[in-house]
């Protein structure tokens, strides 16, 4: 399966009469976008705002971030099973509005939404401060149930990203990158002397607003399975969750999963990247056992020498992580786990809820409990009041002058467990 990603570099975003990309600027027809979002009867109203790098702007409570993409050649469409039909994606050609994003906010959905500051110290902790953001401030219909509200916001974000992505369909990309995964046996034959490596991605699936969808299927109702990494670049996996902002994988993270990109980068040079397994993080112990058994079984079946395992969220998923690690290690396969830490504000507490001596190669996205002060911003998109109650915030987080004292947990993407951000910790 071979996919060409054509990146159209977006250096600015502006409102305009027609939605289009011209000279690396994304123009957005605001009215058309609003009409599209309001097709959903569960959305009462929406405001569309722009937030650009360096502006004194705070977006909160942020639910999801999505990169606009469009399928140009090959089967299927973006976000299969959700927006497009369930055709298998991941081959042909896809255009990406690189540097642009859709951000969803509005009335808070759960209690774990995040903050994105476009400037100042907070901006350093979120990758989304570097993007030209089209922000949707969505108001749900009165009396809408929480899970319906979540879905309405999720769909608004995805639809808007697909709508903006269409604007790049006939634009010549600034750069084109190719990604190819071969059938397993051919891949093994091609680089017989390189260590065979697979990627095990754990998907947040705890339910109660903590869900991920694969081709439209709720991941908590799935068994661990194989997927081509390029399918993910076409939106086969989307975020439907309100788990802690710092370490949830937004749809943007999935589309740009850096573990996949890095493994492709090293493929044929240092490693033979032969495949990818997705597994879930459910709330029943039997599910945790079954899914990790399955991940280990598939790893063994692939015959790999090593796997990279990434986690999403924290707390009880630490157990899924350790189960995956231990069970795969016991098959004689080396593992590296990618996680983050909740080590207390002073960093002195145990970082993960579970541990095992076989988890001896760990990459961390940093300590989510560290406290940061965010200065007031000139413009607020959304509402700042929820910062007193979102995860990482506390009563009194929001000061009278508009500044905010929170744990990094509250900043979208701060300690991402795909290694998308810059934070880490090193052992000496």
């Amino acid at each position: 399966m071979r996919l060409e990603l054509g990146n159209i570099l977006i250096k600015d975003v502006q409102f305009g009469d027609v939605t289009k990309v011209e000279n690396n600027t994304l123009f957005v027809n605001k009215e058309e976008l609003i009409n599209l979002i309001c097709e959903d009867e569960n959305i009462k109203s929406v405001e569309v705002e722009l937030a650009k790098p360096g502006e004194s702007t705070r977006i909160t409570p942020v639910k999801d971030v999505i990169e606009p993409r469009v399928k140009v050649e090959g089967p299927g469409g973006i976000f299969p099973g959700v927006l497009s039909k369930v055709d298998t994606v991941g081959s042909g050609k896809t255009h990406v509005l690189k540097g642009a994003a859709v951000v969803t906010t509005g009335k808070v959905v759960g209690f774990q939404e995040g903050i994105v500051d476009m400037t100042g110290p907070g901006a350093e902790y979120t990758p989304f401060s570097k993007l030209n953001n089209v922000v949707l401030v969505c108001q749900p219909k009165d009396g809408l149930k929480q899970h319906e509200h979540e879905k309405a916001l999720r769909m608004a974000g995805l639809k808007s990203a697909a709508y903006l992505g269409e604007a790049g369909k006939d634009v010549t990309p600034d750069e084109v990158k190719e990604y190819e995964s071969l059938p397993l046996l051919k891949s093994v034959e091609k680089y017989p002397n390189l260590p065979k490596v697979a990627y095990v991605q754990m998907l947040q699936s705890q339910g109660l607003l903590h869900d991920t969808y694969v081709y439209g299927v709720d991941a908590k109702q799935t068994l661990s399975t194989l997927i081509n990494p390029t399918e993910i670049m076409d939106g086969a996996i989307i975020s439907g969750n309100c788990v802690s902002a710092c370490d949830k994988n937004t749809t943007y993270h999935h589309l740009n999963n850096p573990i996949i990109h890095d493994l492709f980068e090293k493929h044929g040079k240092e490693v033979n990247f032969v495949g990818m397994i997705i597994t879930n993080e459910n709330v029943y112990l039997a599910d945790k056992e079954r899914s990790s058994n399955w991940a280990a079984k598939l790893s063994e079946y692939l015959g790999v020498d090593g796997v990279v395992i990434s986690q999403e969220g924290f707390g009880n998923p630490d157990t899924d992580l350790i189960m995956n690690c231990v069970k795969i290690e016991k098959k004689g396969i080396k593992t590296v786990i990618v996680t983050d830490e909740y080590a207390g504000r002073d960093g002195a507490s145990q970082s993960l809820a579970d541990a095992d001596s076989l988890a001896n190669a760990v990459v961390t996205g940093g300590n989510a409990n560290e406290v940061i002060e965010l200065p007031p911003m000139d413009k607020i998109i959304g509402y700042t009041q929820p910062v007193n109650s979102i995860a990482g915030g506390f009563d009194g987080s929001l000061k009278e002058d508009g500044s905010i004292v929170v744990e990094l947990q509250a900043i979208t993407g701060a300690t991402n467990e795909l290694g998308f951000n810059k934070l880490t910790a090193k052992g000496y």
Binding site: Q206, V283, Y284, L285, N316, A353, D354, A355
Partner: protein
């Protein structure tokens, strides 16, 4: 909390869903429960069934409390 109370000489039963974490932190008597969002109940049951379930869990915990153990023990029978 489990360890500190036991340190004070009072035996403890840890009722929890994620048994591996309980084992990692060093609980001695562990009773597995239903699910993380609802350890001691099950919203998919009706009220009478759920009450039976809850009573069974508590009774199991009481049995565990009375049982002599010399190593970490999971009461999953």
């Amino acid at each position: 909390m489990v360890k500190e109370i036991e340190r004070a000489g009072i035996p403890v039963v840890h009722m929890c869903t994620v048994v591996p974490i309980s084992l990692t932190v060093g609980a001695n008597r562990i009773v597995p429960t239903i699910a993380i969002p609802h350890p001691l109940g099950n919203p998919s049951l009706d009220a009478a069934e759920e009450k039976t379930l809850r009573r069974k869990l508590v009774e199991k915990a009481l049995v565990a409390l009375e049982t002599e153990v010399d190593t970490q023990t999971v009461f999953d029978k």
